[in-house]
Amino acid sequence: MAQLSVPTVDYTQYSNRQLVAVPLALLAVALLVIGGWYLFTGAPANLGLEFVGGSEIRIDDPGGNAAQQIETAFSAEPSSVRQIAADGTYILTFSEGAVETPDGSNQLSVLEQQAEAAGFSIQASSSVSPSFGANTQTIALGGVLVAFLGMSVLVFVMFRSIAPSIAVIASAFSDVMLPLAMMNLLGINLSLGTVAALLMLIGYSVDSDILLNNSILRESGDFYESTSRAMRTGVTMTLTSIAAMAVMTVAAYLFGIQIMTAIGIVLVVGLLADLMNTYLLNVSLLRWYVNRGVKA
């Protein structure tokens, strides 16, 4: 088994400005992407079925020319078709209003009938109405805001000084924004699972920041010693989590378990962002704070 050794960084070689440049530049790009998305699509991310409404059906592999069969079976073109590696089933999504429905019946019922008429066996199905989705959107956004504010207040109360608290909060903010921008670029939809992951990230990501702040501000030893000690622990922690989440993401993707895939991928990207933010952004803010008043 390979020895896992945490690399030590010689922070003395770099100025604070050099250290914050990379994370801040990436954060700026992320905010640009999210802002651009908002301007062009009216939402900060690609909203998934749970937020905009629509129908989804998971059917057994019909065998033969599946794509052909799926196309002829349904009266509307699915907005996405994906085959699940583990069991060969197909997941089809239809946007709301794609299928003409007779009065009083809903879209998914019509789709289910069409699927059955074509001889497909339905393994799972779900539908969300647009009004319900819009509602969910508001609540989810509110939830993320409340969680973030709550975390910020807690951090302030715990450290009781402004700069270290800002360092933690800034890096948590960036930890949430980078995966969000990444999802937009990779074409991953925002779903309830990803919202849960973003919230989880708020909790996960502050771990290593708090560890770093604690080690530098409250424990003995000079700045670089404390930093490398915190880094040894922190990087191990984050890598463990990344490994667990990466395995979950890949396995869940192969099995077609969407909620776990969504949670996993956001956490992987977010934790990677956290590594960078903690040991570049947060470290330099703390170094500035510790050395303030001292001429370099």
Binding site: L108, A124, L199, G203, L211, A244, I257
Partner: protein, 524 residues
């Protein structure tokens, strides 16, 4: 021995809690009294006492609002609520008393609720103005009493239809109320068919009383409350060529007698019986009894000679049984269910909610899949931890401790009978991740700067490490609590179990790991 247990009390506590958890999960004596899955036990398995949610067991889940408006603080004086309802219904287009509910003693009452989805707020306001009842506000949504009634009726329908293990409950997202219906092992369309209609059943009489060719409808000569008993739906047989529901009418308060005389007066029970030709020729038919569901005529039928005669002599009312004929057996079943369970007091608007269905085979696959994912996650975490520490005496307890957190969570789930869903499994993996993180903080914190031979040094370092863990745990709990409170569907379970896991970690397992490390590293 006792001394040792005492000084390692955290470890002892963990061992006790672990044993309890294992007992709750596996012991048959802790098995739920009434299996939620019913006789076919689809939601549990034999090996453990864990309950599986719809994701892992298969079934249908519907989450949707009830449609209606409520006028609050309506000044109805001493008038009877029935009269008020009738007066308001008369002013509303295409509405009858089943569309209006008047209640006293409700919050901001008396309240008047309108559940006809085609009525707009201004039409409702106009109707109230026309009837002269002043009111304070009209709001969207219904009263708690009506929602409770709806839940009871939906439960009744699902039970009457023989769908075992179903649950019906109210949830709120802070902006409004939804009714959540979960039926294990059942197809989506079956459940929707059962509850998408309000299921108000009544009997009308269609007749031309004065013989001038103008037919009128006597509405609601029988409604749900007038029936004393409702038999099971019958297939056509040699006694009758039609599918049907045998029923009997209440005798108290002269209900049966009133019905009897109405039937005789309108001519349904004429000499020799009546033959209904409503379907073919509505302008030239004998008087008909009509079976009406949610305002729609389902079937029209006449009366045979024998029954008509016993009505005419007045004998019938002494043993008032009667048969509702339908055009199909499914319809007869539906009528029987609707009559027994009653009508949902408002429309359950599935189109404005969400539905999801997982087939039992898919659920079973997800069960195996998530078990595999869980095992893979544990193996990965173990791999990383071993690679980092290289010393089994540090790494092995770490992995076992993190794993015991998951076991304790399973114990909680079994004890609470909380149905395991994919999101709950995801939270187990997340807890495993944070758990190991914190154990790494403890291990590194304690072992930093060489050997920890004295207990005093150990406990001071342990305390420092624990401060970080405490703050991190508090942030995770704060970040997750909105999800645990808001009902964002599947995420509630994820949030609840992540929070539980963090609490178990901070108060039980992580301190216990401290004990283990101390025993390994310090000398007496």
């Amino acid at each position: 021995m006792i001394e040792k247990l005492k000084s390692n009390w955290r470890l002892t506590l963990l061992a006790v809690i672990l044993l309890i958890s294992l007992f709750v999960v596996f012991s048959p004596t802790m098995a739920p009294q009434t299996n939620v899955g019913g006789e076919n036990a689809t939601t549990g398995d034999r090996l453990t006492n864990l309950q599986y949610g719809l994701d892992l067991a298969g079934g249908t889940r519907i989450r949707a609002p009830l449609i209606g408006m409520t006028a609050e603080a309506v000044d109805i004086g001493d008038e009877s609520t029935t009269n008020v309802a009738a007066a308001v219904a008369a002013e509303l287009p295409d509405s009858d008393t089943t569309d209006v509910t008047v209640r006293r003693g409700t919050i901001n009452g008396p309240t008047v609720e309108v559940v006809n989805p085609d009525i707009s707020e201004s039409q409702f306001a106009d109707a109230l103005d026309a009837t002269g009842y002043s009111y304070e506000t009209i709001r969207d949504g219904l009263t708690q009493e009506t929602r409770d009634e709806a839940i009871n009726v939906i439960e009744g329908k699902v039970n009457q239809a023989g769908l075992s293990g179903a649950s019906v409950q109210q949830i709120t997202d802070g902006t409004g109320f939804f009714i959540l219906v979960e039926v294990p092992g059942q197809d989506r369309s079956d459940v929707i068919d059962l509850i998408e209609q309000r299921g108000n059943v009544r009997i009308d009489i269609y007749h031309d009383n004065n013989g001038d060719g103008e037919y009128t409808t006597e509405r609601a000569v029988l409604t749900q409350n007038d029936f004393a008993s409702i038999s099971n739906a019958r297939q056509p047989d040699d006694r009758s060529p039609n599918p049907r529901v045998p029923v009997s009418i209440r005798q108290e308060n002269g209900i049966a007698e009133t019905f009897q005389s109405t039937v005789v007066e309108t001519g349904v029970a004429q000499q020799g019986g009546s033959t209904c030709r409503y379907e073919e020729n509505p302008q030239n038919t004998d008087p008909c009894l009509q079976l009406v569901v949610d305002g729609e005529v389902i079937n029209s039928f006449g009366m045979n000679g024998d029954l008509a005669n016993s009505m005419r002599t007045g004998d019938w009312a002494r043993s008032p049984s009667f048969v509702l004929t339908t055009t199909s057996f499914e319809e007869a079943q539906e009528i029987a269910i609707n009559l027994r369970a009653g009508d949902i007091p408002a429309e359950y608007a599935i189109d404005q909610g969400t539905t999801s269905f997982i087939s039992p085979t898919q659920g079973e696959n997800f069960r195996t899949d998530s078990l595999i994912i869980g095992i893979l996650a544990i193996l990965t975490v173990s791999g990383v931890v071993f690679a980092r520490y290289r010393e089994p005496q540090v790494a092995l307890p770490m992995i076992l401790t993190a794993f015991s957190e998951v076991l304790i969570l399973l114990g909680f789930a079994a004890y609470l009978q909380y149905p395991l869903d994919l999101s709950v499994i995801a939270s187990f993996i997340a807890v495993l991740g944070t758990g190991v993180d914190d154990l790494v903080i403890i291990a590194d914190g304690v072992m930093a700067e060489g050997d920890v031979s004295s207990r005093r040094v150990f406990s001071s370092r342990f305390k420092k490490a624990f401060w970080v863990i405490g703050v991190a745990a508090a942030t995770t709990i704060i970040a997750m609590s909105p999800l645990a409170v808001l009902s964002l569907g599947d995420l509630e379970g994820f949030a609840i179990f992540t929070i539980l896991g963090v609490l178990v970690g901070v108060f039980v397992t992580r301190p216990a790991y401290g004990d283990i490390l101390r025993n390994l590293l310090t000398e007496r």
